[in-house]
Amino acid sequence: MIKLENVCKVYNNGRANQTTALKNIDLEIKAGEMVVITGPSGSGKSTLLHILALMDEPTSGSYLFDGEMISGMTDRQKSEIRNRKLGIILQDYGLVDELTAIQNVELPLMIAGKRKRAARMAARNALRMVGLSEKERQKTSRLSGGQRQRVSIARAIVAGAKLILADEPTGALDSVAAGDFMELMTGLNRNGVTVVIVTHNETVANQCKRQLRLVDGEIIP
């Protein structure tokens, strides 16, 4: 599913304030795995996730996703992969607060060019999966943190993503909501979706089959 070879990420390359966020990362994640990445702040977790999500590019090394070499792809090609194969969940949810829950969930489908009716149906299904059917017409700004997180999960899965990437997804949730979140992720994983979670939360980390620890930009075995 994912194969990183010798991936490095350097910010401000060549300048006095040059920072190496990732050092020679070799990583392979097979389809259907549920992986958690832990590590202290500044260890490069988010950078790694952004690279996996095709939102950032490595300074060097290669990235193979679902059999396709990402390096050298155009912005549009990467956008299509992000749209169709990736689902991204963020600590702050990344929702457009001015839109309703269902409108937020529809976004990837509309970008993909789905017809309005089909997009609406798919969005409803996704919201039903996360248990938010009754809130679909509410603006996300009026939802609780846990509910907003579930909207962002619905948005991540609505287009049939093969890989879910979650960056500190439980950071703003209480323990109950965090438990609900992990339950959803586990359910998705059981259905064959690959899940990668970046977190500080040990409870969350312990629920994943595979754990990776990142320290100073390197994966510690």
């Binding site: 956008s79 992000r82 749209n83 990344g94 457009v96 607060d97 409108q103 990837p108 509309m110 970008i111």
Partner: protein, 414 residues
């Protein structure tokens, strides 16, 4: 592309009210800029020059306009003609008070140039002619000429060709449309010695506030002791007209002697209607007003900088938020960027255009309502606009505040 546009419409429709707030803010800023700050800056510039010239006791005619005349322009080369283009561009097209008329005398058009501002100011930059010309009549929309010759006071340089009692033909043409409008006859009623004048300070309609009560709306200050005022027919009937009158003199001046001198030099009977104190008070007021306007300019400059900086920052963050979400969900960078840019342009462009269109109308309104610049009347308007602008800014800020929290999450990715 159609789908993209539909999606952009859906995405931005919830932001419409907020964007309208922002548009209103931009609109008010433009109006403020055009109506208040530009003329005020101009006035201060002129004031500085006037002060400098007058203070140096230079034999030069200068004049001083105010907000309601909108611009200051003379043919005198050493005065800044900064805003002439603004006038000529038609920004104040409907503001008839700002009609600028160039009068030419006879065929000798190069020799004498007069500028007429409002209805009362006139100026011969070559010091060769002082006269009074009719104004543009707002009710009939025609030049208020009458059958009679207008009394003119001319300098001694012209007296050879135009002795008292002779007539001179003045051709008037509009400086904006460049068309000749009319000819008027000037009747030479008096001669002034060149060195009898030092400066000419007029303050347009603003004089009504300080000096207009006495029926004088233009002033010419004589060197050392002489101040010449010209009556305004709106306040004085024809039978009161003497062509010229001694208006204000220094306390130390022997008034009888001065009157005799005026009679000899100007050829008409004059009368003293005030003293130099009036002039000093007027000048003090002018200085106070100019200082007040200067403070206002600084204040507005600060508001502009702070407000727009705040907006730009917020706008970037807000757009960054949407941009990031769109990007994350599968839009390419270029697509997301274009939509965001279009959304900004769609608001800002009409707001600026509307502001530019409304500024002259607002200016005209102020003039029509008699709010002569440098009077307290203008301040409520300025304050009102200022408060409205700030209100819009605050509302916009609150409206956008909620969008700020997610941005940092995406910044690296973007």
């Amino acid at each position: 592309m159609v789908k993209r546009i539909k999606m952009a419409t859906m995405l931005y429709s919830p932001f419409l009210i907020k964007e309208l707030f922002f548009g209103a803010q931009v609109f008010l800023m433009v109006v403020l800029l055009m109506v208040v700050i530009v003329p005020v800056t101009n006035v201060i510039s002129e004031y500085d020059q006037m002060e400098r010239l007058y203070g140096q006791d230079i034999d030069r005619l200068i004049y001083y306009t105010q907000i309601d005349t909108g611009i200051g322009q003379t043919e005198t080369k050493d005065l800044d003609i900064r805003f002439a283009s603004w006038l000529e561009s038609g920004c104040l097209e409907k503001t008839y008070r700002n009609q600028m008329v160039r009068a030419k005398m006879g065929e000798d058009t190069e020799q004498i140039t007069m500028l007429i501002y409002s209805e009362q100011l006139f100026l011969d930059t070559e010091f060769q002619l002082i006269g009074r010309l009719p104004a543009f009549d707002l009710t009939t929309e025609s030049w208020g000429l009458n059958e009679e010759a207008y009394p003119m006071i001319i300098s001694e340089d012209l007296a050879v060709d135009y002795p008292p009692g002779s007539e001179m033909l003045l051709k008037m043409d509009c400086n904006r449309c460049k068309e000749e409008h009319s000819e008027i006859r000037g009747l030479v009623v008096g001669i002034l010695k060149r060195d009898s004048m030092i400066s000419y300070i007029g303050k347009g309609g603003g004089n009504y506030d300080y000096l207009g009560r006495l029926g004088v709306n233009t002033l010419a200050f004589g060197r050392e002791k002489m101040v010449i005022g010209v009556y305004d027919e709106r306040y004085f009937h024809k039978e009161d007209w003497n062509g010229a009158a001694v208006f204000s003199v220094a306390e130390s001046v022997d008034r009888k002697e001065l009157l005799a001198q005026m009679n000899a030099e100007v050829g008409v009977e004059g009368r003293i209607v005030g003293t130099d104190d009036l002039y000093r008070n007027s000048m003090d007021k002018v200085i106070q007003d100019a200082e007040a306007e200067r403070l206002l300019v600084i204040l507005f400059a600060v508001v502009f900088v702070v407000d727009f900086w705040g907006y730009i920052l917020m706008s970037i963050r807000k757009k960054g938020h949407l941009y990031a979400i769109l990007f994350m969900c599968g839009w390419s960078k270029r697509e997301a960027l274009i939509v965001n840019l279009v959304s900004v342009v769609m608001i800002v462009f009409p707001a600026v255009c509307l502001g530019l269109y409304m500024a002259p109308l607002a200016s005209e309104f102020i003039l029509r309502e008699g709010f002569q610049g440098y009077t307290w009347h203008i301040y409520p308007i300025i304050c009102g606009l200022f408060l409205m602008t700030m209100l819009c800014g605050v509302l916009t800020a609150f409206a956008r505040q909620r969008n700020l929290n997610v941005v940092t999450q995406y910044r690296e990715g973007i």
